[in-house]
Amino acid sequence: MEQFLDLYGFASVILHAVELVARTVLLGSVLFWVLLAVPLGRLLPPGDAGRLHAIARRTVILGGIASLAATFLLGLLGFGALQATLDLPSGALLGADFILFTGLDLLAMLVLLALALPREAPGRDRRLALGGAALLVLLAVTFGSHAIARTEGRAMLLASTALHQAGAAFWLGGLPCLIAALRLTPPSARRVGQRYSLLAAGGVGLILLGSAGFWFGFIGSVEAVYGTAYGSMAATKTIMLVLLLALGAMNYRLLHRMAPTPGGTLRLRRFIEAEMAIGIAVLAVAASLTSVPPAADLPDDRVTWAEITERFTPAWPRLTSPDHADLAIPALQAQLDAEWQQRQAAQRPQAFTPGEGLLPPRNATDIAWSEYNHHWAGIMVLLVGFAALLDATGRVKLARHWPLVFLGLAAFLLIRSDPEAWPLGDIGLLESLRDPEVVQHKLASLLVVAFAVSEWSVRLDLLRGRVRFVFPLAMLAGGVLLLAHTHAISNIKEAQLIELSHLPLALLAVVAGCARWTELRGPPELARVGRWLWPACLIGIGLLLLIYREA
C-alpha cells in the first residue's frame, strides 16, 4: 500500500499533464472542425475540403481517445489512493465530487467521440451537438478544478479557469490540425492558416482574461511571484507564453506574406512545431501549478528578494572536492543548525501529499560535495557548448567530436552521485542497487553514454535517419519533466531556492530542443539560426550550473 501511495504523487502529476495536453487538443480540434474546417471547406476545392474535414475528424477522435484514457486513469488513481487510506466502502468513495465530475467529463467525451464517428461532414445539428459536448467537457473540468474548492472569489476563479482553458484550446489545441492542414495545396493551406490566426488571437485574449483572474485570486503580489513555488511557476509559464506569442506573431506575418508554393509553408511548419513543443511545456507547468497551493495561501516563510540575490550572486566554483571522510565545515554547519532550529520552532503545521517524502537532513559536507558535482558538470556542459559553437563555424574539424565530452559527464555521475555506494563508498554495487535512487543515478549515467555515442555517430555520419532526433527530443523531454517536477506543498525556502535555479535550466532546455530540431529539419535560413542558438543555450545551462549553490 505504501508503494502505491509513493506512486500517487508522481503518477498524478504526469497523468495530469498528459490529460491537459490531450484535452486541449480534443477541444481545440473540435473548435477547428466546427468553426474553421466546415465553413472554410465550402470555399475550398473539393479535394482540399474533404482532406481538411478528415484531418479535423481524425484529430478529434485521437484526442478524444487519449483524453478519455488519461482522465479515466487520473480518476482511478485518486479513487485508489482514497481506498488505500480510508476505511470506507467503494460505494461511499464513488460519491466524492471529483469522481462525479470525472464521470461527467468522461460521458461528455464519449458523446464527442460518438458525434465524430460518422465520416460525412457534420451538418448544422451535429456541429451544434459537437460544440455543446465540448462545452460540457469544459464545464466538468472547470467544476473539478481548484477554483471550486475556494471559499472566496469562487465565481471569478471558476470563470477564469473556464476562460483560460478555452483560450488554450482555441490557440494551442488546434495546432495539430493546423500543421496537418498545411499539407493541403498551398493556396488552401494559406487560407486555413489565415483563418486559424483569428481563432488563435481570440484564444490569446481568453488566456489573458483568465490570467487576470488568477493573478487576483491566486497570487496577489509581486513578492508572491518569486517567493513561492506557485508564483515562480506562473512566471515561467508567462515567459513561455511570451515566446509563444513571438512565434505566433512570426506565423501571422508569414501567413500574410506567404508565397502560395510548397516552399512557402515549410518555414511556417517549423514555427508551428516549435509552438507545439513550447505549448506542451506550458501545459506541463499548468499541470504542476494545479498541484501546489496558490501563492496567496502561503503568506509566511516566503523566499525574500535579498535571499535570492544572495544565493544567486556568482561565487567562485567549488573545484576541489571535500574529502569523502571529511567532517562538516564548522561555520556552514552552524548556519544550517540555526536554520533547522528556526524551522522546528515555526508554528505553522506542515502538510504533505501521500508519497511526498521528506527532504533528507544535510550537513555542510553534503552541500560542498553536491556543489562540487554541479560545478564540474557545469564546466563539462560549457565545454560541450563551446565545442558545438566551434563546430557550427565548420572550421574546426575536431569540434564535431563534442558528444564525447558527455562520456566524461557520465563517468563523473557514475562515480560521484552516490558517495556511500560503489565505487567510492563501502556499499557494493549489487547491494546498492536495492535503493531506487541509486538505480536511477546509474541508469541516468548509462543513458548519457547511450546519448553521447548515438549523437557522436550522427556527427560522424555513421548513423542516419530518425536517430538524429534523439538529441532535440531528449532536451525537450528533459525540460518538460523539469518543469513538472516536485514542489514542496509548504513554503520550504531551500526547496524554493532550488526551484528558482531549475526553472531557467528548463526554459533553456526547451529552447535548445526546439533550436536543434529546427536545425535538423530546415529550411536552411532557419537551420542557420538554430545551429547557433542551441549551443548558446547549452552554454547558459553550463553557466547556471557553475553558479549553483545550496547554501
Binding site: 500517487y8 504523487g9 508522481f10 485518486g78 487510506t85 480510508l86 470506507l88 461511499a92 460519491g95 466524492a96 465530487d97 471529483f98 473539478g144 481548484h146 474548492a149 475556494r150 471559499t151 498541484s291 501546489v292 497551493p293 508554528q347 503545521p349 506542515q350 502538510a351 504533505f352 501529499t353 511526498e356 517524502g357 533528507p360 544535510r362 553534503d366 560535495w369 553536491s370 558535482n373 554541479h374 555521475l413 552521485s417 552516490d418 558517495p419 556511500e420 535503493d435 535512487e437 541509486v438 541508469l443 541516468a444 543513458l447 548519457v448 546519448f451 531528449a474 532536451m475 519533466l481 523539469l482 517536477h485 516536485t486 514542489h487 506543498i489 535550466l505 532546455a509 545551462i541 550550473l545
Partner: protein, 128 residues
C-alpha cells in the same frame, strides 16, 4: 546519504536533459494546507481540550477525510469528524481522560477538487 537525493536534483536533471528520461518527475504536492489549528503544532497544554479543529485553505469533503489521534506508544484512535459546519474546518471531539505526554493529530483531507493531503500536528499534555 545520496548526493542526488531527489529526482529533481539538478545533476540528475541534467542527465535527463541529455538522455531519454526514465526517472520521471518527482512526487506531486496538493492544495489543501493548514491555515490554523487548535491546538497549534508543538503546543504544550495544561489540559486536553474538549475538541480539536484544523482550518484549511480549501473546502473539504468531510465524509472522505480522516483524523487520527496518535499516542506516544503509536496507538491510533480514529476521531469522529463533525460532518456539518464550516466547509474548511475539520473538527472532532477528543476522547475524555487523555494521559499527559506527547500526542499527535494525524489528518488526511480530500479537498473538493479531488486533491488528497496529509499532515501531523504534534502537541503535549502537561502532567497536572
Amino acid at each position: 546519504m545520496s548526493q542526488l537525493a531527489s529526482p529533481a536534483h539538478p545533476i540528475l536533471l541534467l542527465a535527463l536533459l541529455l538522455a531519454l528520461p526514465v526517472c520521471g518527475a518527482g512526487p506531486a504536492a496538493a492544495h489543501a494546507i493548514v491555515v490554523t489549528s487548535e491546538p497549534t503544532a508543538g503546543a504544550t497544554l495544561a489540559a486536553a481540550p474538549a475538541q480539536v479543529s484544523i482550518r484549511f485553505n480549501s473546502r473539504l469533503d468531510h465524509e472522505r477525510s480522516r483524523l487520527l489521534l496518535i499516542g506516544a506508544d503509536n496507538a491510533q484512535t480514529a476521531l469522529a469528524i463533525a460532518a456539518e459546519g464550516d466547509p474548511v474546518v475539520l473538527a472532532a471531539p477528543l476522547p475524555p481522560g487523555l494521559a499527559p505526554g506527547a500526542w499527535r493529530l494525524r489528518w488526511q483531507v480530500l479537498a473538493i477538487d479531488g486533491h488528497i493531503t496529509r499532515g501531523d500536528i504534534p502537541f503535549t499534555l502537561k502532567a497536572p
